[in-house]
């Protein structure tokens, strides 16, 4: 569940806040929120379960993230550097990870 306050907070941040699913290689930033809402029933597991898996892999608020690579077909999946680890994931599973990009 996402609180209304959290929703407002995200809404207030400027356009530097993007979904990880929409990020491009070279994008660097910090994770500001990991939600459990987009496209329920589209991940093979519930959105809450997807959120927990993301969290377990280290997609937590405050983690530094950099998009490193993307696949050849539909630019999917993406490879990210998350703190000290490298992780590959599909864009559709990355929709609920919101990142605040560093100012360029």
């Amino acid at each position: 569940m996402v609180s209304q306050a959290a929703n407002r907070k995200v809404a207030l941040v400027d356009q530097r806040t993007v979904r990880l699913s929409a990020a491009k290689p070279g994008d660097v930033g910090v994770i500001v929120e990991v939600r459990a809402e987009s496209h329920p029933g589209d991940h093979g597991v519930g959105v809450d379960e997807l959120q927990r898996r993301l969290l377990e892999f280290g997609f937590v608020e405050g983690a530094r993230i950099e998009v490193l690579h993307e696949g050849a077909i539909w630019r999917d999946p993406i490879a990210v550097r998350l703190d000290d680890m490298r992780i590959g994931l599909r864009r559709r599973d990355a929709e609920d990870v919101w990142i605040l990009l560093d100012a360029k």
Binding site: A36, G41, D42, H43, G44, V45, D48, L50, Q51, R52, R53, L54, L55, E56, F57, G58, V60, E61, G62, L68, H69, E70, G71, A72, I73, W74, D76, P77, A79, R81, D83, D84, M85, R86, I87, G88, L89, R90, D93
Partner: protein
């Protein structure tokens, strides 16, 4: 309560994947290990023994790698239940050894917090400590040990460093009678996972200083290997080299094994009185087991590459590169490795689907794995191509037989993609599982570990050949040998057997696809292994030794079959489930007869209609 000083203490190794856990297990136990399955599930159970300097015996069990005790795959369920002491048929471990990659502590710290909640005495092994030192990573070991509340040992499993330390630390916990605290572990919710991360972050910040010389090698290599275009080209080149190696390196050994079994069979036949027992030994046991074991060299070469790439850290990249391509057909990126193995033989391929977490993804992969052109099809393809496909060049550079061979491989791959796509649509409308995968840092494979894993794979394959394949072979032999030919019979003995009768009975069914009775009879022993059909065709056409005169059979077939029939036979072999061993392994891996039955039905249907279309179309073109 049971006295630990009196009996063998049990140690369980737990840790993230890619933490070098298995290398540490090997370093601890050396060759004293045993591989089996956990009761009722198809998860590999690896156990070994340590003899400590003080004369105590410790039993070590290597649990499947996991990021969390909140299990998601059958492997992770085993880890969770073993740690909690709830795994049926298993004694709870006395001590946990948590294995961590010293250069990558963040996630494992969260796992450690979960493990601490379980309350068992624990030692943390900071593995790959040499790499951490080389990177200039500073870890305050005392502070870290205090914060997580358990002793820490630094290890370099591949160089056997710190192993004695680890053993004596574990022994200390045993002799000091470290007791289990109450288990307070509960499945965490999102908030608790966040809290645990925060706690892990604090511990990390307090005790670990960022590396002075971080690993830039992995990043640079990924820049090439994960490049959208170059990466795929490199992957394809690698695959090409692998297949070349599988077929060229193993040829001599495979031929030698084949010749050895033939010689053994001939020897037994020559030195025993004729009769049922001799037939059973030569045609049933020796040629049956031999026909499967000839694939051992190919399987070993293939696994050599797979283990090497796995240890280097490339397999995760291959899954990454292939994910979208395979995902379009509803397959998981991880299905790539099992399907690749299936080109040598579907049996190790199906066995290696255990790396796929999700049950449906795993079943889909198992069901399509036999469509990959395994090496047992090659003798059949070669025979038919040499008999019916003129050795002409196409467009000046390509040979027609080569093109046909390529086409057969391609139809296997394309049909596998098609079938998995349809399976997804028909059986499981649900979306595919999330794809989240660590891309580990590249590491040079350790030769000793490669050899050990290879030995293990070989051993598992041979054990399977003994327990699953063998009974199937006996069944097929029985069908092909009983009842025997009557006195003064002029036709080959197989004609009078059950297999022969079934073949004759089925002939009308196979007439529309252009098969004569000799072919339908050959199909039945062909269930033992695909290439056996070649030998059986030799028998029914009374060619005698097909190995000695491979050309003779091809010439005979040219006289007896039309081109349309030959092509239909090829089409049949692309799809038909002509391999009893595969069916046996599917039964074992899925723990039910339902899936092997579905496989049998769908593959036979595909084979029949493919052969029907090929035959009828070829006749229209005047090749009948």
């Amino acid at each position: 309560m049971n006295d630990l000083s009196m009996r063998t203490a049990r140690i369980a190794l737990v840790g993230n994947p890619n933490s070098g856990k298995t290398a540490l297990f090997n370093a601890l136990t050396g060759s004293r290990q045993k591989v089996a399955n956990y009761a009722g599930v198809t998860v590999e159970r690896k156990e070994g023994q340590i003899a400590t300097p003080s004369g105590r015996t410790l039993s070590v069990i290597d649990l499947p790698g996991t990021y969390s005790l909140r299990a998601r795959s059958p492997d992770e369920v085993v880890t969770r239940d073993a740690v909690l002491g709830k795994l049926s048929g298993e004694q709870p471990p006395d001590i946990l050894v948590c294995v961590a990659d010293a250069t990558n502590l963040r996630l494992v710290l969260r796992l450690i917090l979960e493990l601490k909640a379980v309350g068992r005495p624990m030692v943390l092994a900071l593995n790959m400590y040499d790499i951490a030192q080389r990177q200039g990573l500073r870890i305050d070991l005392q502070g870290l040990a205090r914060d997580i509340g358990c002793p820490i040992v630094t290890t370099v499993a591949t160089r056997k460093r710190g192993i004695d330390d680890l053993v004596s630390q574990a022994e200390d916990l045993i002799t000091n009678g470290a007791l289990s605290a109450e288990n307070t572990w509960r499945e965490p919710d999102a908030g608790q996972i966040r809290d645990a991360h925060r706690r892990a972050q604090q511990i990390l910040k307090a005790n670990v200083r960022a590396p002075e010389r971080p690993d830039t090698f992995t990043g640079k290599v990924d820049g090439i290997l994960l490049h959208p275009v170059a990466g795929l080209l490199i992957l394809l080149t690698l695959l090409f080299v692998m297949f070349q190696a599988v077929f060229t390196w193993s040829k001599a050994a495979g031929d030698a094994l084949g010749d050895g079994f033939t010689a053994l069979g001939a020897f037994v036949a020559a030195h025993m009185p004729g009769g049922i027992l001799t037939s059973f030994l030569t045609d049933g046991v020796i040629s049956g087991v031999g026909s499967v074991l000839v694939f051992l060299p190919q399987i070993l070469v293939l696994f050599f590459f797979i283990i090497l790439l796995e240890d280097f850290g490339y397999m995760a990249r291959a899954a990454f590169l292939m994910d979208r391509i395979m995902g379009g057909a509803g397959l998981h990126g991880r299905a790539f490795i099992p399907l690749l193995s299936s080109f040598a033989c579907a049996i190790p391929g199906i066995m290696s689907t255990r790396v796929i977490d999700n049950k449906r993804d795993r079943l889909t992969t198992i069901m399509v794995a036999p469509l990959m052109t395994c090496s047992a099809r090659i003798p059949v393809y070669t025979l038919i191509i040499s008999a019916f496909i003129p050795n002409r060049s196409v467009a000046g550079v390509l040979s027609l037989p080569g093109l046909v061979m390529f086409g057969l491989y391609a139809s296997g791959i394309l049909s596998a993609l098609g079938v998995s796509f349809i399976m997804r649509r028909l059986l499981w409308r649900g979306a595919v599982e999330p794809f989240l995968m660590e891309l580990p840092a590249y590491k040079l494979p350790d030769p000793l570990n490669v050899v050990r894993s290879l030995y293990l794979r070989g051993k598992i394959f041979i054990t399977r050949a003994g327990t699953i394949i063998f009974p199937m072979m006996i069944l097929v032999w029985f069908l092909s040998s009983f009842p025997g030919a009557p006195a003064g019979a002029s036709d080959p003995a197989i004609n009078y057997s059950l297999a022969g009768r079934i073949g004759h009975l089925l002939q009308p069914v196979f007439a529309p696809i252009g098969f004569n009775w000799q072919m339908t009879v050959a199909l039945i022993p062909g269930f033992a292994a695909r290439e056996v059909a070649v030998a059986t065709l030799g028998t029914v056409y009374a060619i005698g030794n097909t190995d000695a005169a491979p050309g003779a059979l091809a010439t005979t077939l040219q006289h007896h079959w039309s081109i349309a029939t030959g092509l239909a036979f090829l089409a049949w072999y692309v799809f038909a489930p002509q391999c009893a061993s595969t069916i046996g392994v599917v039964k074992r891996e899925t723990n039910s007869w339902l899936w092997p039955a579905i496989m049998l039905v769908y593959m036979t249907t595909l084979a029949y209609f493919a052969a029907l279309i090929v035959y009828q179309v070829a006749r229209v073109f005047g090749l009948g």
